[in-house]
Subunit: 172 residues, 2 copies
Amino acid sequence: MTVPKTAADAAKVSRPVAGQDLDASSDDGLLHLGELSGLLGYSLKRAQLKVFEDFLRCVAPLQLTPAQFSVLLLLDQNPGRNQTEIASTLGILRPNFVAMLDALESRELCARMRSASDRRSHILVLTDKGRAVLARAKKLVANKHEARLIELLGPENHAALLEMLAKIAREF
Amino acid sequence: MTVPKTAADAAKVSRPVAGQDLDASSDDGLLHLGELSGLLGYSLKRAQLKVFEDFLRCVAPLQLTPAQFSVLLLLDQNPGRNQTEIASTLGILRPNFVAMLDALESRELCARMRSASDRRSHILVLTDKGRAVLARAKKLVANKHEARLIELLGPENHAALLEMLAKIAREF
DNA sequence: CGACGTTTGATATAATCAATAACAATTATC
DNA sequence: GATAATTGTTATTGATTATATCAAACGTCG
């Protein structure tokens, strides 16, 4: 019997009756994740979604996405760089970075300046407003977002987690 | 001077000359990630992309995405469930799950069966082919994908990482 | 029974994100 | 100076995620 002839058959042979459960199901309506919980990619994805969700909530007053925040941070710490350099560092493809910059520039958070030495490239600079927004965003992220994560995991676990994730991103 | 008048000015004041660097930049062409490396969401995302990329490579002979693999796994361990139950467990919205199932069903990896007790719902079952593909996929994932991860991190670190990610997904 | 609200799978559609090809302007190489 | 390579940009495609809506089927309650 490859596929049961009727759905009743399928349900019959497949779902153990309560009391016959041998695993941790405990029939609370939740499904068995089974080997899924041991799959790193799965947990990684679910955790990432949760973290991004919380990031958006915490920084909502400034209307910044994680990607936009990372751009502002990078611009602040790497002045004098062009679009290709910033985009590739963040793993953003150059074509997709154009619209991102347009959005930030239209909000006057950063500006493109033609380079004097290479007139093809645009040097990216934070505006004063951009620096101010970044400063406020950093505070929100540190005090609301990361603080909650550190509280949940404990400081040393949080540090160990960061270290392992960085290692995966770097060496895997 | 909010925004430098010329890009030369911007580059001049902003980029420290080699030898004046006070941080870990060491002018190797790489940009300073700075506080970005301390941002959990950022490392999480980068690591997740790497892991998914490797997953796709390892399971390429079976042409399965991580999402498809998770569906097959869940079907195997939760027989007799309908689309809504499987989709919501995986965080997939019901409308988006339809096309996903169409693809799996067209490859004869699973089948929809009308339930006898509730003729609205479709009971999802793995076909024999689906079970065979899943078994082969599990081996590839365990021997090629997860094995490399465990080797990189060490078994106890790998377990600790899984635990923390699950905690974030669950409680954050 | 019959009206009403709910659930299930499905469709259509929009928004976002990611990826490739191609182009003009400019620079580098030989 | 001819040719190749780089930079920012546009256009376009595909994948992913999200919302609204629908018909069929179920449940409840009068």
